[in-house]
């Protein structure tokens, strides 16, 4: 076989194996009822087949792997989160409605105390392998029950052994103790209801526990009735059973609530006020970080781009050290350094500043740390941009006698800005979502009073959303957090698109 046809053969082999693998995976997902995943995998297999074996168009061949991964692990989760925004997914609303009703019926029970434990014996139907149990409750009253019914059984049908335990039922022998274990799966599902509103459940392989259920569910009316007080509970529109007097029963269930999460954000006073403050700070913070960081980086680049300065490389290496330290760790170290009065910074400058407890000092602390993380990158790209300025322009300006300030403002700054503009926009987008710097340093900063979800003075939208999801009032509120994530995405996306457009027009002007 020639080399060329061997490589072609191996290419086919690889792609066909891959397609086969993906098809098989898709089928397994289908078996396990993971519909979206199976459809995705089937589609991917088809796309791979189409792109690599049939199509002549080259761009697809380079883009497809990235696009598939992007779709499955970035876009799909985003949509998944988005869908949650329209539900009341939160602490107390994790079950389905059936599960929730069942849980309420199970949990609310009055135990019935008996002098002796209620023992039972197990029978197995030869043909159907279905299990029945026989027990005595109350004294001298015998029952036979299975997963569907429970009925009284005459003493005549029973035969007892020497210990007084049931040995034969209608001539059939009960299971020996060491045999009962094989049927544990059926036994543990038994829920027996007998007259007088008594419910019995096995608590091990030979004992039952009796109790009086407090609630009864009426399926047609969709209502729960409290057997003791007679009070009725109906479903509300937030996935819970509620009585006329407003008492809520837990657990509730997960249900679709439409746009309510979004409207809450606007109408709830406790959310609206802090949210506005957080939004403002998100934008201001990003703007300051990018602009001050860029200026700082640019000025440093100008200073250290000097021809006669040896050891340029030394400074370049040292300045980018902040990039090398894992931010997770460096920011936590910074938070320790900013401790008021006994922290290193206060001791160094002999101050006593409430760095992390006063809103404005906290914001300054956040900006300082963000500046520390950003300036290396800004320094590097500015250096590159300055080096790219054609030297003829600079020489011409010097010959013309322009002052250094004029050279900077009329030539260097605009040219550099135009070159690095797209990178600045990308930095801006990242600064809008810079979770680590905020959360690890101040945790969102001194908290505003009266804020749902503990919004604080240094919170940006993403840290506020995170706190709502995992730390909110009444526990986690994923629905609300997902709604905020969508708003976050729209905000960042809108600002970035605006920035991109502006950049395009700038380029056209120049």
């Amino acid at each position: 076989m020639s080399v060329k046809s061997f490589s072609r053969l191996s290419k086919y082999l690889i792609s066909y194996t891959l397609i086969l693998l993906i098809l098989v995976m898709g089928t397994k997902f289908m078996q396990n009822k993971a519909w979206f995943l199976s459809i995705f995998f089937y589609t991917s297999a088809a796309l791979i087949f189409a792109t690599y074996t049939i199509s002549k168009k080259t761009p697809g061949k380079y883009l497809l792997p990235g696009v598939l991964l992007l779709g499955l692990f970035h876009i799909y989760p985003a949509f998944y989160s988005g869908a949650v925004a329209f539900t009341n997914d939160s602490n107390g609303h994790q079950l389905s409605k059936d599960q929730a009703i069942e849980a309420i019926l199970q949990d609310f029970k009055s135990p019935i105390f008996t002098d002796l434990p209620i023992k039972f014996k197990t029978l197995v139907d030869e043909k159907t392998k279905r299990v029945s149990i026989v027990f005595e409750y109350p004294a001298k009253s015998y029952w036979i029950a299975n997963s569907r019914t429970a009925e009284k059984i005459d003493l005549d049908s029973l035969e007892f052994d020497n210990f007084g335990d049931v040995e034969f039922v209608n001539g059939q022998k009960v299971l020996a103790n060491d045999q009962v274990g094989f049927y544990i799966n059926q036994i543990q599902k038994l829920k027996i209801e007998i007259k007088g509103n008594t419910s019995l459940q096995p608590i091990d392989l030979e004992t039952l526990e009796a109790s009086t259920p407090i609630f009864k569910y009426n399926k047609s009316q969709d209502s729960l009735t409290n057997q003791l007080t007679g009070e009725k509970y109906y479903s509300n529109d937030n996935g819970q059973m509620v009585s006329e007097s407003g008492e809520l029963l837990y657990p509730g269930w997960k249900t679709n609530i439409g746009w309510r999460n979004f409207t809450t954000v606007i109408t709830d006073q406790q959310m609206r006020t802090p949210l506005l403050a957080v939004l403002t700070w998100t934008i201001v913070n990003a703007f300051l970080v990018v602009s001050v960081g860029f200026l700082f980086g640019l000025i440093l680049a100008l200073i250290f781009n000097y021809r006669h300065l040896r050891s340029k490389r030394f400074y370049r290496t040292v300045f980018i050290i902040p990039l090398a330290i894992p931010s997770v760790l460096s920011i936590l170290v910074w938070s320790g350094l900013f401790t008021s009065e006994t922290g290193v910074i206060d001791r160094m400058f002999n101050m006593s500043t409430p760095w992390l407890t006063d809103p404005w000092w906290a914001r300054l602390a956040v900006l300082i740390v963000e500046l520390w993380s950003t300036f290396p990158y800004m320094f590097l790209i500015s250096t590159g941009a300055i080096q790219a300025i054609p030297s003829e322009i600079l020489e011409a300006a010097e010959i013309d006698g322009a002052s250094p300030v004029k050279i900077f403002s009329q030539i260097k700054l605009p040219l550099v800005a135009r070159t690095v503009a797209p990178l600045l926009i990308a930095s801006g987008a990242m600064a809008l979502n810079n979770f680590g710097a905020i959360y690890l340093l101040t945790g969102g900063g001194p908290t505003f009073p009266n804020s749902n979800g503990n919004a604080g003075a240094t919170d940006i939208l993403i840290s506020y959303t995170y706190k709502l999801a995992f730390n909110g009032q009444e526990g986690n509120n994923y629905g609300l957090a997902s709604a905020l994530s969508i708003l976050n995405f729209i905000l960042v996306g809108a600002i970035s698109i605006y920035g991109l457009r502006k950049m395009k027009t700038m380029e056209e002007i120049n």
């Binding site: 107390g92 389905s96 599960q99 799966n185 407890t357 749902n452 009444e474």
Partner: protein
């Protein structure tokens, strides 16, 4: 070519098929805190062999509710799992745990511990370990040892500060959790919990009558430097002998030993005689409501988890104090662990309701305002209580 394709198909199917795990009958899956698998395995071995059950211990817990609120209802949870008791409220409200009221033997545990795993008049977890903070006394500064009464603590501290030997009385973080014993001693509480099994979040006690009456005491102590006015926690004040007392947890012991401090651990005396109660944390085992092996899990809880031997084995392995009374009795009362535990039996468990998320913010802010001098203790707590009530929707 075709045969190759079929062969590949067969191989990949076999490979993929073998990856999915098989579930055997008579298996119990338990999720535990990372690092504790070995201890659980050893403690369950005898029972597992005797009953022919495979006990599968997996390290998946340690944070919050172990993911149970999502995994349980989806059918992806274990049979049993461990969590710290302050998750009880959230777990019960979400409906992912089974009531263990008829399983637990209340007499095996201190009533405070039972209260920690109680919610809505029922018990939901089997306690294993208890942890809490305690008072540490620097024996170099206070040779007479731990104070038996608040008066003794106060006078020792003030005289040391007056003579210049100490710069502060009690080195402690000034926030709700660490200040709780002092808060308790002057009559404050977070939520009322009359019979220990029902927390009433509609009744907030941050500005209770007793507390408001005694609030001035806190201001006095702050002025006397019993507490650090600047609210800047610096543990070295205690290790360097510049403070007679400190509030410490089991995690601080190593640092103290390394710094070479001679100390004594004790309970915190209350201002009105008796003991000031700090918050204790209870680690407990919970049952997944959606378990497919509820009888087996129940049997394990009754025959293994509730025994003193189990509590002893687990807590020995991870250096904590057993919740089980019999196991606790076997811990050397003179050891540091014993001293923590003795105090712990008198402490109240942290309220296990999810409304606590809101409490911390307002409560901690109030303490910060008081310590920095921004407002008096009574006023700070009063406004915190009002904000909290608004946040919780209490009238």
């Amino acid at each position: 070519m075709q045969r190759l394709g079929v062969g590949l198909l067969a191989v990949s199917l076999a490979f993929l098929g073998s990856i999915a795990p098989a579930q055997a009958a008579g298996t119990l899956t338990i999720w535990v805190n990372s690092g504790e698998e070995a201890a659980y395995k050893t403690a369950s071995e005898a029972w597992a062999t005797k009953n022919g059950v495979t006990v599968n211990i997996v390290a998946k817990c340690g944070l919050g509710d172990c993911g149970m609120s999502k995994l349980g209802p989806a059918g992806a949870g274990p049979d049993l799992f461990t969590a710290s008791h302050d998750n009880t409220g959230a777990l019960v409200k979400s409906g992912v745990v089974t009531s263990l009221s008829s399983v637990i033997k209340k007499s095996s545990y201190p009533s405070a511990v039972i209260s920690g795993v109680s919610f809505n008049y029922q018990q939901w977890g089997i306690p294993i370990a208890v942890s809490n903070i305690a008072l540490a006394t620097n024996l170099a500064l206070v040779p007479s040892g731990a104070p038996k009464t608040w008066k003794e603590l106060e006078s020792t501290a003030t005289s040391l500060i007056a003579s210049g030997k100490a710069s502060v009385g009690i080195v402690t973080h000034i926030d709700g959790y660490f200040m709780q014993p002092f808060f308790d001693s002057i009559g404050g509480y977070v939520f009322s919990n009359k019979n220990g099994s029902y927390i009433n979040t509609k009744q907030v006690g941050l500005n209770s009558k007793a507390l408001m009456k005694n609030a001035a005491l806190m201001d006095g102590w702050l002025a006397a430097k019993i507490f650090d006015k600047a609210n800047t926690y610096d543990g070295s004040n205690f290790t360097n002998g510049k403070a007679p007392y400190s509030i410490v947890g089991p995690w601080s012991i190593d640092g103290l030993d390394k710094a070479g401090v001679k100390y004594e651990i004790s309970s915190i005396p209350s201002v009105n005689g008796g003991t000031a109660r700090a918050f204790s944390g209870v680690t407990a085992v919970y049952m997944n409501r959606f378990t497919k092996n509820n009888l087996l899990a129940r049997k394990y809880l009754v025959e293994v988890v509730q025994t003193a031997a189990f509590s002893k084995a687990i807590t020995k392995a991870n250096n904590s104090y057993p919740a089980n009374l019999d196991a606790a009795a076997s811990v050397d009362a003179k050891s540091v662990s014993g001293k923590f535990g003795a105090y712990g039996a008198l402490c109240i468990p942290m309220p296990n309701v999810s409304e606590m998320n809101n409490v911390w913010t307002y409560w901690n802010n109030a303490f910060a305002d008081w310590a920095s001098g921004k407002s008096k203790f009574g006023a700070a707590m009063d406004s915190a209580a009002k904000n909290l009530n608004t946040a919780l929707g209490n009238k």
